[in-house]
């Protein structure tokens, strides 16, 4: 079940990366869909935090470093927020690439968190 959530989040973050890249190359200005996907990524991470906290309280543990896992999660939670902030300081089609960098970073961090947990 928890693994399924990881995969779902990887799919969301991957889709967000591709979508914002497409918007960027199409020279669109930052829009509802790109930003919405970043918000989805953030929501997914919040749910992840709730799930992994609940699992930890129930006695489960990340098998390769509990502390590392939660450090990654805490930093990953900041990434979409910073990406949206940084991209909207100057609204141009380049903003989409900034969002793509943020989404891809979360993607990589999730993959790393997956190996840390299982």
């Amino acid at each position: 079940m928890f693994e399924f959530w990881f995969l779902a989040q990887l799919a969301i973050a991957g889709a967000a990366t591709l979508l914002t890249l497409v918007f960027g190359f199409a020279k669109r200005s930052p829009n509802f869909f790109g930003l919405g996907f970043l918000a989805l990524v953030e929501l997914g991470l919040l749910a992840q935090l709730a799930i992994s906290l609940a699992l930890s309280l129930g006695g489960a543990e990340a098998s390769h470093g509990q502390f590392e896992f939660f450090t990654y999660l805490a930093v990953a939670l900041l990434v979409p927020i910073l990406a949206v902030f940084w991209s909207l300081l100057e609204r141009a089609y380049w903003s989409n690439f900034v969002l793509a960098v943020g989404a891809f970073t979360v993607f990589v961090m999730l993959a790393r968190m997956h190996t840390l947990w299982f």
Binding site: A26, K27, R28, S29, N31, E68, T71, V75, V79, L82, A83, W86, S87, L89, E90, R91, A92, Y93, W94, S95, F97, V98, V101, G102, T105
Partner: protein, 140 residues
Amino acid sequence: MPKKTVPLAPARYSGFSRVLVAVYGVFALAASGRATFELFTKFDLAPFSYSLSALSALVYLVVAATLASKRARLQSIARVALWFELVGVVSVGTAGFFVAELNNFHTVWWLYGAAYACLPVILPIFGLLYLRRQRKVLAN
């Protein structure tokens, strides 16, 4: 969906620098996290490689903080840091073929940063090109 484009030429360059800064921000975050972790848990394993990682983390932080600036002084700091990074990654990457101590994944710069999709060697080139272009734009 109506198509909205932002065709201003100067914004193009500053937009590009924003993306570069975002990537450098991620690298600064990743490298300093990694360096801190290594410093506290396994520094004795490969002290030289880990020191190099810490040094590269510092360089990423400096570039992330100075690259997008319009001020000439900060731009020249960014230029120095980028050259340092480029020379560092090329020399450490090359030295890895001859020096056993550097031929491992303990440093970010191993094999020209292959573990990070070679971005450590690509990024400074883009950064330096951006600064050169920026200087031309400002001169005109």
